[in-house]
């Protein structure tokens, strides 16, 4: 059983994955790289956790997956957001904004 810390991390990872795919279909490596780059190298995805998370999201119907060919002509599995995934991303992102805003306000009060 995962403990609470893992849950938070997992939820966060799911959100980041969904967000990264909002730009369009991408393979697992691309997701990891995009999160890394767009967080200006702050967030480094633990790659070992990435693939179980992608598969879980796929099975839940938030992502769909298809085999395709990468830029450098390699066979790769591309993930894309489904309609449910988009809706989920909106809800989760909103929740996250509210939470982080609230936490920031709490931390600002002297």
């Amino acid at each position: 059983m995962p403990d609470k810390k893992d849950d938070l991390l997992q939820g966060t990872l799911d959100l980041l994955i969904l967000k990264s795919l909002a730009r369009g279909p991408m393979h697992g490596y691309g997701v990891a790289e995009w999160i890394h780059e767009s967080s200006q190298d702050v967030l480094r995805v633990e790659e070992g956790a990435l693939y179980p998370a992608l598969h879980r999201l796929e099975l839940r119907g938030l992502l769909s997956a298809e085999w395709g060919v990468s830029d450098n002509n390699r066979r790769a599995k591309f993930y894309a957001l489904t309609a449910t995934g988009k809706k989920h991303l909106m809800q989760e992102a909103e929740y996250w904004r509210r939470m982080s805003g609230a936490i920031a306000r709490v931390l600002q009060t002297a």
Partner: protein, 891 residues
Amino acid sequence: MANRWLEKIWQRIRATSRPEQVNRDLDDEIAFHLAQRVDKNRAAGMDAAGARYAAHRQLGNVTNIRERTREVRILTSLESLWRDFTYAARALRKKPGFTAVAIVTLALGIGASTAIFSVIENVLIEPFPYPGAERFMTVEIHDANNIDAVGRAEYSAPEFLDYIEKNHVFDLTVADASEDVLYQVGGGMERLHGILCTPNTFEFFGLPALYGRVMEPADYEPSAPPTFILGYKAWKSHFGGDPSIIGQTYILNGTARTLIGIMPKRFGWGSGDVFLPVKPVRAEQAFAAGEFPPVWYLIGHLKPGVSVAQAQADLTVIANQLARIYPKRYPPRFVVKIVSATDMVVGNFRTTLTLTLGAVALLLLISCANLANLMLARATTREKEFAVRSALGASRWRLIRQLLVESLILSVCGGAIGVGLAALGLNSIVALIPPVTIPAETEISLNLPVLAFALAVAMLTPMIFGLVPALRAARSDLERPLRDSGKGTGSGTVGQSRFRDAVIVCEVALSFTLLVGAGLLMRSFVALRGESLGLRADHVFVTRLPLPSDRYQTAAQLTGFYRPLLTRIKSLPGVTDVAESSALPPYGGFPTDIEIAGSVHAEKWPALFQLCSERFFSVLKIQLRDGRFFDENEVADARKVVVINETFARRYFDRANPIGRRIRVSDLANFPDKVADPWFEVVGVVSDVRNKGLQEPVEPEIWLPYTLTGSGQRGILVRTANDPMSVMDSVRREVWAVDRGVALTYTGSMENYIHLQSYAGPQFGFILMTLFAIVGLALVTIGVYSVVAYATARRTHEIGIRMALGATRSDALKLVLGMGLRVIAIGVAIGLVASLALSRILASQLWQTSAHDPLTIFGVAILLLAIGVAACVVPARRATSIEPTLALRHE
């Protein structure tokens, strides 16, 4: 579009059914990731080994990732299955009426098919508990001129020995013969059904004894100490089920025999109570003077690899040799048939059971069709729900799975109740099965294969009734139901209502076929009941009295028993008349060839003859047509006088007066206690009495005084003032007062005897078929009602508009009735064609009823149309009471 999600379904199924494919995909995915990372590292200036090492370190343990991903896959699919399940259960609970109707419909279908399948499994598929029983074969000699008639499967001892020694196709051959075994209990004698068995019998059947041991080769030797083996039922009923009696000695038929073994419950070959070892010898005369030699019922185990046709050819060679030695026992032209023991014992009952299985399959299909329609109607009202869920991202596969899970819950509940119904109904079905049509070894119960069958049916039915509605619901496009504010009269529903109509048409057609089958069997049964026996069977008590063969061999000995017995019984209170007889109608006596003085004929003239006392005709109220019955003095003096039946007079005397003519009953000269010079004078002609069963034409028959010979089994018939069974105890007392060594067997009322012999079989098929037809009809009524009511509800809006535009109430009524009657009429038409096509199967089960009986077919059509109109009445009334203004506002 359909193709794409079919492909997806396929992928899902493949993914769950082929985990190695999933693993390979994951490996590819990880390999790609590593390759990309290595490229990037190389671009940053690392050497090849360093780049690979860094990539691996960053990703972590690949095996671990693979494990975690697989875990995710399993957990997620279990989780979503559970969600589907709880969601489905909640959806069903919200509609208790629909759920109840659906479950009851399924329970009836599954219950009926499970009950019938358990009969079929136990009777047709596994009737015998013996290893290798499917290769047990009997050998039958059939007259080539009448190949369908019952063949001869019994052989004399020398014939049997020849078949054993000369055949090349059986690895083991045994035979059994029946014998009355008289055995002293308390103050009187009881009769057990003895089976004489030849060497190797117990090796042949291969079942060990429950207690003690089975026969060994030495036990069959004439010099061996006499032994016997007890059957389970007789052990329980006559010996108190006590295993310690093994080794004790009992007097059976006057011989002291040691009990060496008790057989298990399902060993019941020949329905025997006791099994006696006998080694048949070629000298037939080894038997006592007054007895007929036993007839051996032969059974062989087919060698591995030998076909029935090969066995037939091999045994035909032997039969041809034997026919030259015993010309009397073989017809001039004959055919040898090898018949499996199961076919031999179950024989005609197979057709009845197969028909019933067909009927029950139709019933199950009707249940499924009904359910499909209910589900479809429900799915249509849930179109919006599905559209919303689908817009929110639920995949089509999810929706289909959702509906299938709902169907599965329904059919599992229906199946569970159905198995309960089957268990309850099975006892009634078993009670209906005519005795002796199934072997004594057969135990009919809900066993493992039957439960597996029920489970399979419960899993299969949702596929039949749930899949099509699910596919249709999932296919419906997204926006239309959302845009559509009314309940929809748009073009999209036409296809769906077509489908619903098609289902109802099928249902009506199936039900029509079932009803026609039941109707024909009923007509046939009524015809059979109406068939005159030629006698009055009410208020008659019958019993067969096997006499101890050591003391009763001659006519004088036999008469010495019966004459005082008849006098004693006649004077009992409640008894109005009594007679002795060697046969019990509707079956008549011994076969013989006859000759008539003054008639010359080349071919053989066959007849049946029966020995009886003078009161036989008055006890059964058989009508005298000409001359007179023989009288008390003629019987007492064993005069050579006979009474013949009308068929005899018509066939052999043509139009001449038979009274005073002389006939020779040739086979009396071959009786163990033979009648020398068996020429008789005809003194009377009586009306025909059935003597080959109810369904065969009456044969020429002769009655002669019972005092002429001591041979042949006899019994008594007692006409009573009240309930025939009320005299049983007093009759038994009188029998034992005359001779304590005589047992009463097959006691009962004549009516019951005739019922079991002649009516029980047809009644079984007819009652079951009728039951299924009624249930089917009820289901069809529900089906038609639900479809018409649903269609009417959906068209409320339309009807309202029509009425606002000037249509009258009777127009609305016509509209609704028209909807219902159109589908029923089409269904009836298809059913008519189907039942005409299927009637050939039923024909063999019908008696004096055409398989195309117009009255039945017409009646069924009227019945179905009437039921259809009745089912439309409520929706039609609802339609005519529509207020246009209300209807237009209707949702």
